[in-house]
């Protein structure tokens, strides 16, 4: 009977119900994307941060390329030049990275290669690039008029997943360029001294930690903005829910008076209205979760160049917050319903 009572009265007011659900959905979508971005991107960024340690990225001082990167300094324990360029594959623009991949793997120990590192006419796509192009190890891939074999798939959990890695020679062949767009440098010791040394040689130097830290600052700002937006959207949602509930209570005061006259206690009355609000909260929460995932994916790709992954705890949190908003919004309307005097209502007309 309880379910019938709740569903039927919701059904009678389905238009208003829909509006409230949409309002909750928007709030929940913001919450979901906020949580996903916060938890997931933070985690991935942390991974990048940790593994880079105190390493440096060296960029060309003048022009676009470093022709011959040579640096001899006691504190430099390794360096890998990279040649980045974009090329079209299957009508999709993909970023390529050429390097001595043996060395690159040593410098980026978190690289996970499913298969082998490429040799000769072979390529190693990052996992996102592979998914985008529908590639797996052993497949053939044509770039320009040449054919390459996929030697394996690279999973880094960073934006490198979007790239296709090839040997430096292949990179120079395909792009027709020579030199490196940047070099990763591994330093053990006095990093500032190394920076001075490299800058004297005419290079631009960036601490990778700084790169990551500016990304982290961006994440913090994005998060703050999203938290603010979430707060306002949730407030608006609870206001909308409040309006729906209070209108419902006012419209149904005769019905409520009747139920009370028939012996419906306050607890049960509150339960009926809470359940109605709960339905809106749950429905809005679930819908909002999926909309929020899309939003998070969009923000992740646009701002952080990262694919976000789905986290089940975000779903639970979103649902919880939606239900909480619904419950808070219905407190006053329920109080109002409880205060209805059956005598006055039943006498009416």
């Amino acid at each position: 009977m309880f379910t019938r009572l709740v569903t039927k009265s919701l059904w009678v007011r389905r238009e208003r119900l829909l509006i409230s659900i949409i309002a909750v959905m928007l709030g929940a979508a913001m919450v979901t994307s906020l949580l996903t971005i916060s938890l997931d991107i933070r985690e991935k960024m942390g991974k990048e941060l940790r593994s880079y340690g105190a390493n440096l990225v060296v960029l060309p001082g003048e022009g676009e390329y470093i022709n011959q990167f040579n640096a001899t300094h006691n504190s430099i324990i390794g360096s890998v030049p990279f040649l980045y360029f974009k090329a079209e594959v299957n009508a999709k623009k993909i970023e390529f990275a050429g390097a001595n991949l043996e060395a690159a793997r040593k410098m980026n120990p978190w690289w996970h290669v499913e298969g082998l590192l490429p040799k000769g006419e072979e390529v190693l796509p990052g996992i996102n690039a592979a998914n985008k192009l529908g590639l797996k190890a052993g497949d053939m891939l044509s770039i320009g008029d040449k054919s390459f074999k996929v030697s394996g798939i690279l999973d880094t959990g960073t934006s490198d997943d979007n790239r296709i890695f090839i040997s430096m020679e292949t990179a120079e062949q395909i792009s027709g360029k020579s030199g490196a767009t940047l070099a990763q440098v591994s330093v053990l010791g006095d990093i500032d001294d190394v920076i001075k040394y490299l800058e004297n040689k005419g290079y631009k130097v960036k601490k990778i930690r700084q790169v990551a830290e500016s990304e982290k600052a961006l994440l913090d700002k994005t998060q703050l903005l999203m938290a603010l937006v979430s707060f306002f959207v949730l407030s608006a949602a609870s206001l909308s829910l409040f309006c729906t509930m209070i209108t419902s209570v006012l419209e149904r005061s005769r019905e409520i008076g009747l139920m009370k006259a028939l012996g419906c206690g306050n607890g049960r009355l509150a339960a009926i209205f809470l359940a109605e609000a709960g339905v809106m909260g749950v429905a809005g929460g679930i819908l909002g979760y999926f909309v929020g995932l899309l939003l998070a994916q969009f923000i992740g790709m646009e701002i952080f160049d990262m694919q976000v992954s789905i986290k089940p705890e975000v779903f639970l949190l979103t649902l919880l917050i939606s239900i909480l908003v619904a419950a808070i919004a219905s407190l006053l309307p329920i109080k109002r319903a409880i205060s209805i005097d059956p005598v006055v209502i039943l006498r009416g007309e």
Binding site: R254, A261, G263
Partner: protein, 213 residues
């Protein structure tokens, strides 16, 4: 069973009930009669614990109802009293059957079979799944009577239960009350109909809030 002593009910300025005292025995059929606005509904609401008096004492089923809090009154009403309102009130989005079952639900647990039987009993077996808006006034009234009786209350309070019924339906409803009366339930009916007045065991005459009996 029902003992009222010096009951007073005031609404702001109007005094709807002045010093009403009367007794209704267990199993008695009492009719409350009087002109419009004389305080009949007010009195019935007091007995039904829907409202509390400004002063005076009212013993129902041995319980001093004026001393009950709002929650206890709701519970008391649920357990002891079946109400038929002057304006037949139903929940608009529930069917006739569900409108009866809801009283079972508030009382204890719903029993669809019993609710159906109750509706058949008042001649509404063919309208089980109609919505209130699809029922005539007389039909709605009968659903309300079925609802008032469904939990087998000891006391049945009815505010003009036959006011909207034709002769045939009125007889049917009165038969139900007669049956209840013979089962030993206490029945209090507000009526303008002198024919009903004759069936009852006693008449509580009321005018301008004053009870003469």
């Amino acid at each position: 069973m029902i003992i009222a002593k010096n009951l007073v009910k005031k609404y702001d300025t109007t005094c709807a009930l002045k010093d009403a005292s009367f007794t209704i025995e267990k199993g008695e059929w009492a009719n409350i009669m009087g002109p419009s606005g004389s305080g009949k509904t007010t009195l019935l609401n007091l007995i039904g614990c829907l409202d509390s008096p400004t002063s005076g004492s009212l013993l129902v089923n041995g319980i001093e109802t004026t001393k009950l809090g709002q929650k206890e009154r709701t519970r008391f009403r649920r357990e002891n009293i079946g109400l038929v309102f002057q304006q037949f009130h139903m929940i608009p989005h529930l069917t006739a059957l569900e409108n009866v079952m809801i009283a079972q639900y508030f009382h204890s647990i719903e029993d669809e079979k019993e609710a159906k039987e109750a509706l058949v009993h008042v001649g509404m077996g063919h309208r089980l799944h109609h919505m209130p808006s699809q029922l005539s006034g007389g039909e709605q009234q009968r659903v309300c009577i079925a609802r008032a009786l469904i939990n087998q209350p000891q006391i049945i309070l009815a505010d003009e239960p036959t006011g909207n019924l034709d002769k045939k339906n009125e007889e049917a409803v009165l038969d139900i009350f007669r049956e209840l009366h013979s089962e030993g339930r206490t029945i209090v009916i507000v009526t303008h109909n002198p024919e009903i007045g004759e069936i009852g065991d006693k008449i509580i005459q009321i005018s301008h809030g004053e009870v003469k009996y």
